[in-house]
């Protein structure tokens, strides 16, 4: 990846989806290094003095295309523990925060195959949004399976629905655990269903979401004799 940089940014939009998920948009105050779609950043709430050590921070996938990085950086945050609780409490428009980016190897690079299966659990949609919004996904056959708890969590709905209409290579199926909307599949993401839908030998699976989901889905696919190289996961501690 490009040499990582520490960047001051200002919060310019804060969309609270509910008390557990928010979408944050930040305006960078200096040049943002180029990144590969799928990479992540570190965010710290604490004041960073370049003469001092980098403070405690957390990692979040970048949810925008690198082509628009100079205007805005977007991430999706879900409340997981103490630090993300702090984010929810302290975040406000106009606040300065520090980021360092880019990092990570959950990138498409040379991994795109004939049939690309994106499996996103909850806020695991973030890296896929970056990929889908950038040129790397152009002309690529992609099926996105997106699992959310309820329809409120359907992030960037307009973008994804527009993409279905404008890109015939892109297919989307949304799983909602508690849904009364016929447009979507009822229930949690189902790896057996996904696998059966895509039994072409050269399918590549990209999985992003909760660790448990990643482990379960990866093991299932390996059990179905999918090559390990064709299962690419975005997992963190």
């Amino acid at each position: 990846m490009a040499t990582s940089k520490k960047i001051k940014a200002v919060i310019c939009k804060c969309k609270i989806i509910d008390d557990r998920v928010l979408l944050l948009r930040m305006k960078p105050q200096k040049r943002v290094p180029n990144f590969n779609p799928g990479q992540f950043l570190h965010l710290t709430l604490d004041k960073y003095d370049p003469c001092e050590q980098w403070p405690e921070s957390r990692v979040f996938s970048i949810a925008i295309s690198p082509e628009t990085r100079m205007e805005k950086i977007e991430i999706i945050i879900s409340k997981q523990g103490k630090y993300t609780n702090r984010i929810f409490e302290e975040i406000q428009l106009g606040r300065e925060i520090w980021l360092k980016l880019p990092y990570g190897d959950f990138t498409l690079n040379d991994r795109l195959g004939e049939n690309n299966i994106f499996i996103a659990g909850g806020t695991g949609i973030s890296p896929f949004l970056s990929i889908l919004k950038s040129n790397v996904s152009k002309d690529q056959k992609i099926r996105l399976y997106y699992g959310i708890k309820n329809s409120r969590y359907f992030v960037d709905k307009n973008f994804l629905l527009d993409k279905i209409n404008s890109d015939f290579n892109f297919k989307l199926e949304v799983f909602i655990e508690n849904s009364d909307d016929n447009q979507y599949l009822d229930g949690a993401l189902n790896i057996e269903y996904i696998y059966n839908q895509n039994r072409t030998p050269k399918s590549n699976y990209f999985i992003s979401g909760p660790k448990e989901m990643i482990d379960t889905f990866s093991n299932y696919l390996l059990h179905q004799r999918i090559d390990e190289e064709r299962i690419i996961v975005d997992s963190w501690d």
């Binding site: 990846m1 490009a2 040499t3 990582s4 940089k5 040049r31 570190h42 050590q53 963190w236 501690d237």
Partner: protein, 436 residues
């Protein structure tokens, strides 16, 4: 607040100190030595250096980031890695290409690398140290760069890379070299140590190849004392270079940081136990070739002066050229490679065969008159004791290289050479030729 106040007072004292310790001096032609190169600085370098020491961060910190950013802006690239020397940068440039992560593009022992013998050892040493075979081509007198018409003759099934310096600031024929490297899918590494600011077809040297290197030794266009950099076009290759630079480790945390990857304790590598601390996983047999914060502090200040340094080098070159053009019956003057605008490291002179004097006669005379000179580095590297027994190939002859070894030298063009010094140097040349 008190800390800030003290720091501010220290800054003021440094400015006073600089004025007293390093006043500008009139050139005394009866006493002063005209060095071929040297460090040019003002209070800004001292301020940054002291600031870095007051931070006491020691390894890479804010000045490293600042210096890297300025270099990336200068070259318009995304990946610049600082090193402790240009020689280390060259070592990393070649060694990174031996990484198993490059799969079938990996350089392996016995693979061939096209290069030249008329140059500095640190362009050749990494090739030998990685058990690769250097394949030597001759250079052209005047440009002192590879003769491009012979490049294709040097290609064999084992050829994997071309590693060339832009000799003494003069770009090599990039069109020809790049054409061959692309045709045969070879890595192209530019040793840009002596050419920071030179351009070819309007583009900076150091931006054409897969990897390029730079040096900040005091003789060079900017200085950090010891120091260098690697410029890498590809992100994945940059990661590999960084790994080799940083002990060979897989971790990419900056100094003092932890868990940058977010999965420090949840991966499995080699036959290490699952979750082994990623900070201590090594995917390459590497080195520690990092630059310190103090060096980067100087480099950051130097970058602000680079454009003016380069303008003065070019202007000094022109003055020497005009002044010495009267002696072209005896001297071969340097020529810029077509389509290039060199930021000359020095003014290179080759003595034509004649029965009146040798290069050594002229060089001795100049040195007696306190005008520093240097040969074109190692002359012919294959004649150096260190390289006499290396495995290698020579394509055609190295007659020009030998001629350069015997007859070429250079004088300085750096920005410490003032108009008065130029006049003095030219006057001594006039004296020499008058007394023939």
């Amino acid at each position: 607040m008190k800390v800030k106040k003290i720091r501010s007072e220290i800054h003021d004292l440094i400015k006073d100190y600089y004025k007293l310790k390093f006043p500008s001096k009139e050139f005394n032609p009866d006493k002063d030595i005209i060095n071929y190169a040297g460090r040019i600085f003002n209070e800004e370098e001292l301020l940054n250096l002291v600031d870095a020491s007051l931070d006491f961060w020691l390894t890479s910190g804010r000045f490293t980031e600042e210096f890297v950013e300025k270099l990336e802006d200068f070259y318009n690239v995304e990946n610049v890695l600082l090193t402790n020397s240009g020689s280390s940068a060259n070592l990393l440039a070649i060694t990174a290409l031996t990484s198993p992560k490059l799969a079938n593009k990996q350089l392996r022992p016995g693979d061939e690398v096209i290069t030249v013998a008329a140059g500095f050892p640190s362009t050749l040493a990494p090739i030998v140290q990685n058990q690769l075979i250097p394949v030597f081509l001759d250079v052209k007198i005047g440009t002192y760069n590879i003769i491009p018409e012979r490049l294709e003759v040097a290609i064999s099934p084992k050829t994997k890379a071309i590693f060339l310096a832009h000799t003494l600031g003069n770009p090599f024929d990039m069109d020809a070299v790049k054409q061959i490297s692309e045709k045969y899918d070879l890595y192209l590494i530019e040793d840009n140590c002596d050419a920071m600011g030179s351009t070819y077809n309007g583009e900076l040297t150091g931006t054409f190849g897969h990897i390029a290197t730079g040096s900040f030794y005091p003789a060079h266009h900017i200085t950090t004392g010891e120091g260098g950099c690697v410029i890498v076009q590809d992100d994945e290759l940059a990661k590999i270079v960084k790994s080799f630079r940083d002990w060979g480790r897989d971790c990419y945390c900056e100094s003092g940081e932890n868990n940058t990857c977010g999965k420090r304790f949840s991966q499995q590598f080699g036959t290490l136990p699952y979750g082994y601390d990623h900070k201590y996983v090594y995917s390459h047999i590497g080195y520690n070739l990092k630059m310190t914060e103090m060096q980067a502090a100087i480099g950051s200040a130097q970058m602000d002066k680079l454009d003016s340094f380069n303008e003065i080098r070019k202007s000094n070159f022109k003055r020497f050229y005009n002044g010495l053009s009267h002696f072209q019956d005896y001297l071969i003057l340097p020529e810029a490679t077509p389509k290039s605008d060199p930021s000359w490291f020095c003014f290179i002179i080759t003595v034509k065969q004649n029965d009146k004097f040798t290069r050594n006669d002229l060089v001795s005379f100049l040195n007696e008159n306190r005008i520093e000179t240097r040969n074109l580095f190692a002359g012919n590297l294959l004649r150096q004791p260190a390289f006499q027994d290396i495995q290698h190939k020579v394509i055609g002859s190295l007659d020009n290289t030998d001629y350069i070894m015997n007859n070429t030298f250079f004088i300085g063009t750096y920005s410490g050479i003032t108009d008065e010094k130029i006049e003095y140097v030219l006057s001594k040349f006039y004296t020499f030729f008058q007394e023939l």
